[in-house]
């Protein structure tokens, strides 16, 4: 049987339950016990979904209340000096690192850690801060508590942990810059201790994430991999599944294959032919996890095409072939079933996290029991893909024609900047050092309420527009009183700078519940571009007031 698994699962909960619990806790309206209970429920739901889909191993350790990089820092005692003094629970300290304060009136309020983008995604992680003489300690209890809870399911599990080199790569020196690799040896001792604890707790397989293998790495960092995994291989358990994702392995492929780990995971969606090349270099006792189900997008997979690609690998590797998501499913919405208003023609083209679990299960059965064992599921996937390819919804001949007719000068203003500038200054009547703002003004409670009422159909279009015009007039008056030179309309009508336009353009759709974690409790609802994009009519003009504003 082919083992199936995912690298991670959405952790915001159904209907963003964790977001609302976190925000209630931060406002002081929910106590810690209730928040922890909500966390347990989200984990239980993650595991239940994987169990229900019949995955070979259920993934444990990918949950985090705020961020998994923060949790890795806490696991190894990487807590900046300014948070060391604060009293309270471990969770309160974690929230101080994430947001500056745990709850209103927190006497230990201080400057939060920096947030930055996780590789090329729109997820943000908290940057760990390292001292030049950083000491690492181990606090594995939060991780192990979840592991023990998952053991109660009585099913095969797999743990997840961020790897030591990616952790160091993502961290930054707290003060004067220094070579972070100088901290590798002490960090490895702490990792070894964690592995020992995990092994003792019954962790057989541990997915250890090293996505920096998809980057252009300096030689010193490449060399450090052999040292790091040589040291971690000394532990008798757990077996390590070294996971690379997001980028092509390219020159790091030989490096990956040289490491003494029990298995490797390859992103087969973004990795080009990495999958086949890694299979060629695999040692006889190693597992290869093929990351075939896309963790970065929402399209239903071409299962038949994947089976064509996987069949020769399965013939060679047998049970040593695992099937997984390309990366964590953190980056896709939870469940297509929650959508009630999707165009029935488009719905079958999509797969959110929950549907992707089923896709993995179908692929695994097709490999082990033959395609006829899942003929119905494969036929449905084939039909959906064929319908999508043939659908007039995806192609707008007028758009294609216009694009084909573009000339190079269409991407150029008529005059160069030095000639435009005096024309613009004269028109705007601007003096030196003009003052302005970036575009948006406070989204007051009244504005948010009006948008929600309008969306729910409880506020009529006319009343809504009048309300928004009034907000704009108020913002303009305030700017005039302040003496700003270039005014903005303040964007009261914009829920989000992408979703707003996504809802107005043909070829794009906005879901009801397609939320994805951006950082902490902040979620975004990315629109889906399913076809050629066309503007059916003006999107911003009717609300924008005239002259000297943008």
């Amino acid at each position: 049987m082919v083992t199936t698994h995912v690298l991670g699962y959405p952790r915001i909960g159904a209907r963003r339950a964790l977001k609302f619990a976190l925000e209630a806790y931060w406002r002081g309206e929910l106590d810690e016990a209730a928040l922890l209970e909500q966390g347990r429920q989200v984990c239980a739901a993650q595991w239940a979904a994987q169990a229900e889909a019949g995955l070979g191993r259920i993934t444990v350790g990918d949950f985090a209340f705020y961020d998994h990089v923060l949790d890795t820092a806490l696991l190894f005692g990487v807590v900046p000096e300014r948070f060391a003094a604060g009293s309270g629970s471990a969770l309160e300290r974690a929230f101080r690192m994430a947001r500056g304060r745990a709850r209103p009136g927190d006497p230990w309020e201080t400057q939060a850690c920096e947030l930055t983008k996780w590789f090329d995604t729109n997820y943000h992680y908290l940057v760990p801060e390292l001292e030049v003489d950083q000491r690492f300690t181990v606090d594995a209890e939060p991780w192990l508590t979840r592991w023990r809870a998952a053991q109660g399911l009585g099913r095969p599990l797999k743990g997840v942990l961020l790897g030591p080199l990616t952790f160091l790569w993502l961290a930054k020196p707290a003060g004067t810059p220094f070579d972070r690799l100088a901290l590798l040896e002490p960090l490895l001792e702490a990792y070894a201790e964690v592995l020992e604890r995990f092994g003792a707790a019954g962790v057989e397989w541990l997915q250890i994430d090293e996505p920096i293998l998809g980057l252009d790495l300096p030689d010193a960092w490449r060399a450090a991999f052999a040292r790091a995994y040589g040291r971690l291989a000394e532990a008798p358990a757990p077996r390590l599944l070294l996971a690379s994702y997001f980028g092509r392995l390219a020159e790091n492929r030989e490096l990956l294959l040289s490491l003494p780990v029990a298995g490797v995971h390859v992103d087969a969606v973004r990795g080009g032919d990495d999958l086949e090349r890694v299979a060629d270099g695999l040692r006889a006792d190693q597992v290869l996890s093929a990351g075939v189900i896309e963790g970065r997008n929402v399209w239903r997979a071409d299962l038949s095409a994947w089976l064509d690609r996987l069949a020769p690998l399965y013939a060679r590797l047998g049970e040593r072939l695992w099937l997984g998501s390309s990366c964590s499913l953190l980056h896709v919405p939870l469940d297509l079933e929650a959508e009630t208003r999707l165009d029935p023609a488009i719905r079958p083209w999509l797969a959110f996290a929950r549907q992707k679990l089923d896709e993995l299960a179908v692929l695994a059965r097709a490999l082990t029991d033959g395609r006829e064992a899942v003929a119905e599921a494969l036929a449905a996937a084939d039909a959906a893909l064929a319908a999508r390819r043939a659908s007039p919804l995806t192609v707008d001949p007028a758009v294609r024609e216009r694009l084909a007719g573009l000339r190079p000068e269409d991407a150029r203003r008529a005059r160069p900047y030095p000639q435009r500038a005096p024309l613009q200054r004269a028109r705007l009547g601007l003096g030196p050092l003009p003052t302005t703002t970036i575009g948006s003004f406070p989204q007051t409670e009244a504005i948010r309420r009006a948008r929600a009422e309008h969306r729910a159909g409880r506020m009529a279009e006319d009343a809504y527009r009048a309300f928004m015009r009034e907000q704009i007039r108020d913002a303009v008056e305030r700017q005039e009183r302040l003496g700003l030179d270039v005014l903005v309309h303040g964007e009261p009508e914009r829920n989000d700078m992408v979703e707003y336009f996504g809802g107005l353009l043909d070829g794009m759709l906005v879901t009801e519940h397609g939320w994805v974690q951006s950082y902490g409790s902040r979620c975004v609802k990315p629109p889906i571009v399913y076809g050629d994009v066309r503007r059916p009519g003006p999107m911003t003009v009717r609300l924008d007031p005239p002259t000297r504003s943008r």
């Binding site: 995604t121 729109n122 203003r413 900047y417 989204q443 571009v529």
Partner: protein, 214 residues
Amino acid sequence: MLTGPVTLQQWSFVRDDLPRAEVARQLALCLRDEVADLEAAGIAVIQIDEPALREGLPLREADRPAYLEWAVQAFRLAAGGAADETQIHTHMCYSEFNDIIEHIAALDADVITIETSRSRMELLAAFEAFEYPNEIGPGVYDIHSPRVPTVEEMVELLLAAAARIPPQRLWVNPDCGLKTRSWEEVEPALANMVAAARIVREKLGLVRPAAAPA
């Protein structure tokens, strides 16, 4: 205020049956038409934001030139239809763009406002190494903090910016949009910002605008 073609697709789930460059061009045409409608309605300044331009940069160096080429072209296609008298602004909310500053210049926006609050030194260094040809508004206060910035600190920052960027191409603005703040925080902060701009105009011996309201 429009969201640029690169950001619209970077923050969407994009179809996998058409190259991303093509999707960006389609989005650019939609925005180009919106720019034309805004101009027709009498709008003289149009901002097209590209906060995700940097984050879309491919992980591997070898893939970057192709991305930057189509990303810059998409922005230019969105803005390129604007009349010369229309001022195109763009905003970038990150500071790590030393490595792509030439491509940001290639966007050819008339004015770029940038988030400089957290790493001012690094950012201004980029402008020393590469002379940005158009107008720049380095954010003079951090909107992510509820603290109201003082006139003095903003004067100091503006003078520091004016030492690196010719004052005739310098704008005065906060470092990001103000939607997450309250009016109680925004109004005193902006009043201080306007006051700081007046002081710096005088200190630098620049002519004050005739019709600035009190």
